[in-house]
Each structure stands twice: as C-alpha cells, then as structure tokens.
C-alpha cells in the first residue's frame, strides 16, 4: 500500500513538474500574449474576463465558476450571461470592476483600451492579455488560463480535444482539391480576411484558396468589383445574427461569379468562426463540409 502510494505521489510530482509554467513551490506562472509573465500565489478565484472571446476561453479552461465579471456581448456559454457586466470592452467601468475585487484580469491584446489596462496594472491587479492567432494559440491559451485558475485537469483535456480535432480535420483535407473561396466578414463596409487571419487559416486547412489571401491587411476592406474580378468558386459569409443569411443575396445578382452560377453561396454562423475559441473546431468542420459540397458540384 505504502509503496503504491509513494509511487503515485512520485508520478504526480513528476507530472506537476512537467506541466508548462509550473515553478517551484505553490506559485503558478504563465506568460501572456504580450510576453509578460504573470504569477499568482493562489489559483485565481475571482476572474474578470474583458472580452467575449476571453470569456469563452476561460470557460473552456474549466474556470467558469470562478468568473465574477464579464463585458457586454459575452453570450457564450449560457452561464456567462448571468455574470455581472462591467461595460463595453472598449470602455469599461473600472469602478464596478474594482468593486468586484478580482484577483486576475484577462484582457484582450488589441481589444481593450491601453489606458484602462495600464490603469488596472497601476492599481495592482495582475493582467493577463491574450489574443490567439493560430489554432495552437487557442490550445495554448486554454492551457495557460487553466494553470492560472488551478483547473489544469479540465483545461488541458479541452485543449487536447481541440488539438486532436483540428489535427484530424487537417489530415482529412490534406489532399483535397483546392477551391477558390471568398469569405465575407462584414457587409457594409465589405470586409474579408487575409491568410494570416485565423479564419484565413481555416480556409487553408479545408483546402480552400482565399482569393484575397495575399493582401497586406488582416481585415481588408474591398469592393464588390474586386470580388467579381476574383471570381471565387465558393462564397462563405457570416451575418448580422446567427441566422441571418441576408448578405448572400447580394451576390445572387452577379451571375458571372462562379460561386453564384453554381449556387455555392454558404452561410456559416459567425460565432462559430469569428472568435478564436474551441468553437472554431465546429466552425471549421462546417466550413470544410461546405467546401466539399462545392467540390461535389464540379
């Protein structure tokens, strides 16, 4: 009995020592996406998530119960809607935030105003700023959040599930015939993504070729003419809401576009693909299915 106990203990300490970011003693540290290292003595029990994406990722890390503040539009998962909001992610109510006494603040690198983040740091709060730019980034973010929140079991498991899911998809579509794709982010102004964007990477993973992939800007604003000129074989769009396929009707008028002629106009619910969270696995699956549909129509 004693021997197996010692055995287990040894294995456990080995596992702890191997998990990324763990340091000697009970201090738990992780490096955020701005390169800053954040260390906590106790697992964070009062977490403030300052963007809808951060909220999802904290829940994915298994730390949903520890979240005490979110911002507006934090609508996933359902439980997040019950949490106190501290305003818009572009202009937060710092007083309300301070009154909730958070012990860890999860910020969004490009989403929160730098002045307010600096103010929070000046007030002594640990601020962990994230912004996943790749699929591995999503997994790594979930893992790092779970370290800080003390929910490594759930977090690492979820990260793994996501990793494996994306890997499987990648393998599945490795040799797929390329399909030229236009992905519409927004209607007015007309916006799309380039290959660097996470959605662009989804396109590539599914065997698509983003017709605007080599533009410089992450989220370029283009004209309808450019789309007609690029003549994509498939057009995928989000919408104003989760059900709104309205944006696609604009393209039905242009019969010269292959996608229109072949009726390859597809709607993908934006929340599944526009947030860098585990839901992007589901979104990618949907995306790849649509492209398969386009291939089948050739």
């Amino acid at each position: 009995m004693l021997k197996s106990f010692r055995h287990t203990a040894a294995l456990m300490s080995l596992a702890l020592a191997m998990s990324p970011g763990a340091v000697a003693g009970t201090e738990r540290c992780a490096t955020d996406d701005t390169g800053q290292e954040v260390c906590l003595e106790q697992p964070a029990s009062r977490i403030a998530a300052l963007s809808p994406g951060a909220t999802e990722l904290v829940w994915a890390a298994g730390a949903g119960d520890q979240v005490i503040a979110v911002v507006s539009y934090s609508d996933y998962p359902e439980q997040a809607k019950q949490v106190t909001s501290v305003g818009s992610h572009t202009r937060m109510d710092l007083e309300r935030l301070m009154a909730l006494k958070p012990d860890l603040v999860i910020g969004w690198v490009t989403g929160n105003p730098p002045e307010q983040i600096t103010a929070l740091k000046d007030l002594g709060l640990p601020v962990f700023s994230i912004e996943p730019r790749s699929f591995e980034g999503v997994s790594s973010t979930i893992e790092r959040l779970s370290i800080l929140a003390g929910t490594e079991d759930e977090g690492f498991a979820e990260a793994d599930r996501f990793r494996k899911g994306m890997a499987a998809l990648e393998k599945q579509y490795q040799g797929a015939e390329p399909v030229s794709v236009f992905y519409q982010v927004w209607d007015e102004p007309l916006m799309t993504v380039n290959d660097e964007h996470l959605i662009g990477k989804v396109i590539t993973l599914c065997g698509g070729v983003n017709v605007f992939g080599d533009l410089d800007r992450l989220v370029p604003r283009i004209s309808a003419e450019a789309v007609i000129g690029a003549n994509p074989e498939a057009i995928l769009a989000g919408g104003m809401g989760e059900e709104n396929r309205h944006w696609l009707t604009r393209w039905e008028a242009f019969q010269s576009i292959d996608a229109t002629a072949k009726e390859n106009l597809y709607f993908v619910p934006p929340s599944l693909i526009q947030r860098p969270t585990p839901r992007i696995l589901k979104g990618s699956q949907l995306f790849c299915e649509k492209l398969d549909d386009a291939r089948a129509k050739r």
């Binding site: 202009r91 109510d93 007083e95 309300r96 301070m98 989403g111 105003p113 730098p114 000046d122 007030l123």
Partner: protein
C-alpha cells in the same frame, strides 16, 4: 468699480467644490459623503480608498481642469474675434490636435506619445492659421475666422481619411478620442496649474481686454497696444485649448456656452468673466462627466455626448432670449 467682483466668484467656487464632492461620491459604487471625507483624511476601506483616490479624484480634477481651460479659451476667443459665437475650436485647433492624436494611434504609439502628438498637432494648426491669415498683410478678425473655418474643414477631411484607412481594431479608440473622454486623463496637476496661472495673468490684462472688446481702433486710441495684445490672447487661447484637447479629446460646447451664459448674468468685465469661466466651466464638466459615468452604468458614455446634449438646448434658449 461699484460692482463687487468677489461675490460671484465666491459663489462659483462654492459650486465647484460641491460639484467635485458630488463627483467623487457618486459612481457605479456609491461612497457616502462621510466615507469620502474619511478617505481624504487617510482612513476608509481599501476599496473606498482605491475608488476615491485612484479612480475618481484624478478624473474629477481632470474634468475640472479641462472644463475650466475650455471655458476660458472660449471667452478669450470671443474677445479676440469680437464674436459671441466663437469657441475654442473655431480656428481649427481641435482638428489639428485630432490629426496628431489619430496619427499616433495609427502608428501604434502609446499614451504619452498620443498626448504629445495631439499637442503638437494643435500648435501646428494654430501657427498655420495665424500664418495664413497674416500672410496677405494685416489680419482682421473676419479674415482670421474665415481662414480658421476653412482650415478646420481641411483637418476634418484628413480625420475622415484616417478613420477610413485605419485597421478595424484601432477604430474604437480613435472614435472615443474624437468624442471627448475624460477617462483617459491620468494626471490633472499640470493642467490645473496652467489654468490657475492664466487666471492670475488675466487680472492685469483684464481691463485692456475690456477696451479691446469695444473695437481695435477705439482701443488703440485709448492706449491699448492692439496687435501685441491680440497675439497674446491668440497664443494663450491656443495653449489652453491644446492642453484641454490633449487631456480629453475634443469636448464641445463648454467653450461656447459657458462664457455666453456668464456674460448674460455677470456683464462684460473680463476681469470677472475669465476667472468665473474657469470655475463655471470646470463645474459644468465635472457634473457632465459624473452623468456620463453613471447614467447607463456600467456602459460608459463619452462626456462630449453629455455636453452636446446639454449644450444645444441651452444655447438655443440663450439665443432666443437675447433677441
């Protein structure tokens, strides 16, 4: 003068104090007046201390400084241009500051650089308008006004361009700056010091300003050195406005409506009007900012929205009454 100058100023000072106490006591989390006093005396809970001393007090003081700076600048502009419709931005100054600030934001620079860039933009706008208006010989208020209005429109176009080409994630920050927002301001002391300095400076200049307001020829005939005085007013008003805009973006209506309201009540002696503008403008903006923080909490409104919503009907009412 038989009219006592000090009484209105004392009243306004009391009003300012009351507004500041209100602002420091009100917010998403209420802190009772007694607790506010306790915090100032060094006691109170940690949360209360944080709220009052680190969040609310700097913001209240910044709002006061900004409002005071803008109101005094507006009053000076109205004397310079001899036009009660002038405000601190009429000569394109806020446009230049905005271009400077937005440019810094586009380039990805941080807090201090944005302020510095805004200030530089404001000064550039000032020099440009002055130089252009001066270029063809002696300038008159109407030439200055016309030049300023046109240059301001030019800045507006540049701002629109910058908004159009900026990456999507920078837009909210740029828009908030343009709408005017006191939550940016970190340290109010330099601005407050400047405001006090200008109010002191105004005392010896005040009567000359009164005479200048009657017309430049008349003023010259009564011994006022008109051109140097006009230069001085222009530079002072520009510095005041540049400081305010750098701190809190372009907040409208304070600089137009406050001097006008005070003139209706207190007459036209600049020695009284200018310090009164500092106090009244500060009070007004502190109250507006309190509203902006609280009215749809936790959503935060930019204070420029409140001043516009309050300022437009007030101004129309004043205009109607003065007919």
């Amino acid at each position: 003068m038989s009219r006592p100058l000090t009484m209105p100023l004392v009243l306004l000072a009391l009003a300012s104090l009351a507004a500041m106490m209100l602002s420091v006591g009100v917010g998403s989390v209420s802190v009772a007046l007694g607790d506010v006093v306790a915090v100032i005396l060094g006691e109170g809970s940690n949360l209360q201390q944080t709220l009052v001393l680190e969040l609310r007090l700097p913001r209240t003081l910044s709002a006061f400084a900004t409002g005071g700076l803008l109101a005094v600048a507006g009053a000076l502009m109205q004397v310079l241009l001899r036009n009660p419709l002038a405000d601190p931005y009429v000569l394109g100054l806020s446009g230049g500051a905005a271009v400077g600030a937005l440019f810094a934001m586009l380039a990805g620079l941080g807090g201090l650089m944005i302020s510095g860039s805004a200030f530089a933009g404001a000064l550039l706008a000032t020099l440009m308008v002055f130089g252009l208006a001066h270029g063809t010989g002696s300038w008159t208020p109407s030439r200055l006004l016309l030049t300023g209005v046109v240059v301001a429109a030019g800045w507006g176009a540049v701002i629109t361009l910058m908004l159009a080409i900026s990456p999507a994630q920078r837009l909210p920050g740029m828009l908030y700056w343009l709408m005017g927002d006191v939550s940016y301001a970190r340290t109010p002391w330099p601005a407050l010091a400047f405001l006090v300095l200008v109010c002191l400076l105004v005392v010896p200049l005040g009567r000359s300003l009164n005479v200048l307001a009657r017309g430049p020829m008349q003023a010259a005939a009564l011994g006022v050195a008109v051109r140097p005085l006009e230069w001085t007013i222009y530079i002072l008003a520009s510095l005041l406005t540049a400081t305010a805009v750098t701190m809190a973006g372009s907040i409208g209506f304070v600089g137009l409506v406050v001097p006008h309201m005070l003139r209706l009540v207190l007459g036209n002696d600049q020695r009284l009007i200018l310090p009164a503008c500092a106090l009244a403008g500060g009070t007004l903006l502190v109250l507006a900012d309190t509203l902006a923080r609280v009215v749809i909490a936790p959503e935060q409104l930019p204070v420029g929205v409140i001043t516009a919503l309050l300022g437009v009907p007030t101004f129309l009412y004043l205009l109607y009454r003065s007919r």
